[in-house]
């Protein structure tokens, strides 16, 4: 019958159940009873034992089976217990946080925002730098550039290729399995649903689809020979184009469209998500690099981009070495190749360019702010842990283990961190959206949208947990180092921290100040760089200036006379619009397209020898009125006017940069120049000099430019059909645009007006990245200062509070209030000094990392660092002054009584 377990067993159970002893007992009991049964039936003890063992079966197997089950149960119980404890810890942590809602809210707000900002920046980094490009084995795709060193006559790092060079590489390079030349274009498009439009497209040689390693989902790619000059035009649509203009119909194949007047047949549709080189590109078509006989033979005309696929097993460096050895061989045959090299670049890098540095710097900045937030939280948690020392001591006295206490503290900080992480996942994408809507041009993108994918999710979770461990470790160890007896005895003085923990807190605040200084000075350098870039005189006046593309279809405007008539009619109509101050057309606009750079020969000067720099400059077509509209002053000579038409003597205007570079100490007016190739028969007489214009970027040095009248179009390759209209007017933008559209329509209703933009915006866009970097870093700097100041304030308030007693006594004994105040202030400033000393070193190093992002300011700019340090000293003093003042307001009586 049922009875009480023997005492010894209950005792054993205190140390946990002894399962294998239990099994032994049970089995033995059974066998013994069997033996007794058999003896009772008349068997001898020996026979009874044998019979019992037969009846029972193999004892060892039974035992081992039972033990396996027992172990499985033990593990399951341990797991359940662990979850149970964790749940307990979490419940306890939630209760503790709920008791201090102010602290909890402050901690979650700073941490959530800090982590959110990190998530936001990382999601952009992920989209631009990490997400694989939508190509087959994307890491095998490489951009191919020419690099020319001064020996070649110019110095450019990333230059396009010429036709003969491209053909040579294509034929000879074994480490590239496929190469394709391509050119980015904008073309007038008619077809599908909707009105005529101007679309971005890429012309590429037939191997294009082999290089990208992606096939159309519908139809086919280019066939060999389809890129031959004179071949029938075929196009492959992007998924976006297929959806918007063809309603994703599957019968688009073999339909035709018009591109710049040419009839093209749709042969394929690319998969969704594919882009090359940007998402703007709506279709791909064959690129006839041989279309112009002269151009296709000229090694010096580097006019298109190229990319290739590395052969299986070939590395980028090996491929680069191979093509450069080919180049060396050609150098012996043709001195054009003197000083020419080939540069292979992972394709992503060619898309991302300098954005990588910008993004990594911003990520670093936001990471540092998070570090400051963590240090601050660690400090807050240390104070909290201190104020809970009695609670903890009591728990220890009641038998809670150290490990359990550490786990409890870590649970609290991890819970904080995870909640912060959840806030981050909610706010991060919103921050990206906010930033993009505030400054659409500033946030870099490559292809797809900036989304919350698995990588961003993983990053946020990892960083959240890491921060949790980071700021949770200090209080956890402080608690575990607690001396039980002292704490329990020191009743009433539970707030006083030990000297070690105070030193730790000072160290954390000093770390905050050091990090602050690094962020603030990086922000200072970037803001100054941006201001210097903004202040650069770009040579034109962007305000009140509207620009738009008016490109004529090639088929209808094959005749140069028709082209000229269109543009002069348009100019006359626009000039007559109310409120228009000046208007004109140009083939190139600052910061929108870079001028084609061509070598020319001034009359009476020998051609440059190999190794000498060639005389070259941007070549730009203009109509009368263009310089006025752009706001470029005439320095000497005259503007183009009605005399400068086809048939009249050819004229040119150069800018001051060209005048200084090529006619130093002379008056270039009246001098003549001519271009190379078939244009070499024409002499252009210089009739005027205009102010220099910076077409490329405020960051780059001025380059020489040559302007020719659109009415004369003295050079062969430039057909003058893609002009940009400039309109200077105070009139309201909307009305003006409508009026201009009307004017274009009146001249020819089939001509599209595209890319309408205020030149102010164009300039702002050109400075988008520096503005992003400067703006975000400034924001991070301010955030760092606020959090850092809170850190100083919190620490000193704590010190004052814990010394209330002592200060009270001193004041009662007649101590000078000013002296007490100074003492507290000094404590703050001592910490600041340590922080600043460390921070200056860090800031100098991080300044170097900014590298190419700096403009017009040294990475070690003394003024910036001095300002940064002064700001920090000021902020620290301010943050220390409030607690210092409170210290002297201590009423001795209250202080002593408390």
């Amino acid at each position: 019958m049922r009875g009480e377990a023997p005492l010894w067993r209950r005792y054993v159970r205190l140390f946990g159940p002894n399962l294998s002893a239990d099994i032994d007992d049970e089995v033995r009991h059974h066998v013994e009873l069997l033996i007794e049964l058999y003896i009772a039936r008349g068997l001898s003890p020996g026979e009874a034992r044998a019979a019992a063992e037969r009846k029972f079966g193999d004892v060892l197997t039974v035992k081992s089976d039972c033990e396996k089950i027992a172990q499985r149960r033990r593990r399951a119980m341990a797991r359940a217990e662990m979850w149970d404890r964790l749940l307990q810890d979490i419940r306890f942590a939630v209760r503790t946080f709920a008791r201090t809602p102010g602290f909890t809210a402050a901690a979650l707000l700073t941490l959530g925002l800090g982590l959110g900002a990190n998530t936001a920046v990382f999601s952009v980094v992920n989209a631009v730098l990490l997400r694989p490009l939508p190509y087959g084995e994307p890491e095998q795709v490489t951009a191919i550039w020419t690099r020319s060193t001064p020996e070649s006559g110019s110095t450019i790092d990333f230059m396009g290729l010429s036709v003969p060079e491209f053909k040579d590489y294509r034929a000879a390079a074994r480490s590239l399995s496929a190469v394709s030349a391509y050119q980015f274009r904008r073309s007038n498009f008619t077809g599908g649903d909707g009105s005529p439009d101007r679309i971005a497209n890429v012309a590429a040689t037939a191997a294009f689809f082999d290089v990208v390693g992606v096939r159309p989902v519908l139809g086919r790619g280019f066939r060999a020979g389809e890129d031959a000059s004179g071949a029938q035009c075929v196009v492959v649509l992007s998924d976006g184009m297929w959806r918007t203009r063809y309603a994703a119909r599957s019968d688009v194949l073999n339909q035709t469209m018009r591109l710049d007047g040419e009839v093209c047949t749709i042969i394929g549709v690319m998969p969704a998500g594919f882009f090359f080189p940007t998402t703007e590109v709506a279709l791909w078509r064959p690129f006839a690099i041989d279309a112009d006989a002269e151009l296709s033979l000229d090694r010096g005309s580097h006019w298109f981009a190229a990319f290739g696929r590395l052969a299986p097993g070939a590395s980028l460096t090996a491929a680069e070495a191979e093509v450069n050895s080919l180049m060396a061989a050609w150098r012996a045959e043709d001195d054009h190749h003197l000083g020419h090299f080939i540069l292979l670049q992972p394709f992503r890098e060619s898309l991302v360019g300098d954005d990588r540095t910008v993004l990594l710097v911003v990520l670093g900045g936001v990471g540092l702010v998070l570090l400051i937030i963590c240090a601050n939280l660690a400090n807050l948690l240390l104070v909290r842990a201190d104020s809970r020392r009695r609670e903890v001591a009591v728990r220890v006295a009641l038998g809670a283990g150290r490990a359990r206490l550490i786990r409890q503290m870590m649970t609290e900080s991890l819970l904080l961190a995870i909640t912060g992480g959840v806030i981050a996942l909610l706010t991060g994408p919103a921050l990206v959206k906010l930033l993009t809507s505030l400054d659409p041009d500033a946030v870099p993108t490559v292809g797809g949208p900036t989304t919350l994918d698995a990588r961003v999710l993983g990053f946020t979770i990892a960083v959240s947990l890491f921060t949790g461990v980071l700021f949770g470790l200090f209080p956890a160890f402080q608690v575990s180092a607690l001396r039980l007896q002292e704490t329990l005895k020191s009743e009433g003085r539970a707030l006083t921290a030990g000297p070690r923990s105070l030193a730790l807190r000072r160290g954390l605040v000093a770390l905050e100040i050091a990090t602050c200084l690094a962020v603030v000075s990086a922000a200072g350098l970037l803001v100054q760089s941006y201001q210097r870039m903004q202040a650069v005189d770009v040579g034109f006046t962007a305000t009140d200036l509207l620009s738009l593309d008016v490109t004529l279809p090639a088929a209808e405007y094959a005749e140069p006379a028709r082209v000229q008539r269109f543009y002069s009619d348009l100019r006359a109509r626009v000039a007559a619009l109310p409120g228009v101050q000046s208007t004109g057309l140009m083939s190139v606009l600052p910061f929108r397209t870079s001028p084609p750079s061509d070598g020319f020969r001034p009359e009476g000067r020998p051609d440059p020898q190999a190794g000498e720099f060639q005389i070259e400059g941007g070549y730009i077509l203009t109509t009368p009125g263009a310089f006025d509209a752009l706001g470029v002053p005439l320095v000497r000579g005259r503007h183009f006017d009605e005399r400068d038409v086809s048939g009249a003597p050819l004229v040119a205007i150069i800018d001051e940069t060209a005048a200084k570079m090529y006619w130093p100490g002379q008056d270039p007016i009246g001098h003549r120049i001519r271009y190379y190739g078939s244009d070499s028969l024409q002499w252009l007489t210089i009739v005027g000099i205009v102010g220099p214009v910076n077409y490329l970027s405020p960051r780059l040095d001025l380059r020489a430019n040559v302007y020719a009248p659109h009415a004369q179009m003295p050079r062969q390759f430039y057909n003058g059909r893609a002009m940009m209209l400039l309109v200077r007017s105070h009139a309201g933008r909307e009305g003006l645009i409508t009026a201009i559209r009307g004017a274009v329509k009146a001249v020819d209703p089939t001509v599209p007006v595209t890319r309408i933009s205020a030149m102010d915006d164009v300039v702002a866009r050109a400075l988008g990245r520096p503005r992003l970097a400067a703006g975000l870093m400034a924001l991070f700097g301010i955030a760092a200062l606020i959090v850092g100041a809170l850190g100083v304030y919190g620490l000193l308030s704590y010190i004052v509070l814990s010394r209330t007693n002592e200060i009270g006594i001193r004041m009662a004994l007649g101590a000078d209030a000013g002296r007490v105040r100074r003492e507290i202030l000094l404590q703050g400033l001592t910490i600041a000094t340590v922080g600043i000393a460390v921070g200056t070193g860090v800031a100098l190093m991080s300044g170097k990392l900014l590298g190419t992002m700096l403009f017009g300011v040294e990475a070690t700019d003394t003024a910036t660092f001095t300002t940064g340090i002064s700001v920090l000293v000021f902020v620290t003093a301010l943050a220390s002054w409030l607690p210092a003042r409170r210290a002297t307001r201590v009423d001795p009586l209250t202080a002593l009584r408390s």
Binding site: M1, P6, I23, D25, E26, H29, H30, K55, F56
Partner: protein
Amino acid sequence: MPENPVEFLRGTMELLVLRSLTWGQAHGFSIARWIEGATEDSLTIEEGTLYPALHRMEERGLIEAEWGVSENNRKAKYYSLTEHGRAQLRSQTESFRRYARAVFLALEAPARAG
């Protein structure tokens, strides 16, 4: 002991153990005795295999165990049915009945016509 004892069908031992515990708690030996008596000793069983079965059933929450002292004052592990075990017994008994009936029906059915 009959001449040709029958092997246990899978799952039957569990059913018999559950059934044996309906009259109150019992230790392994008395469960074995009950099965022996109730089946008129016609099922072969190596009684040791009872224990892994008992422990597994305990793990699954069909029965629970408790150490106690037996009639002749020896400590023994007593098993008793849980609510879950009781429910299991009901449903298993029912399905075993249906199963056995179906098998008998088939075995005793007349020969196929034609």
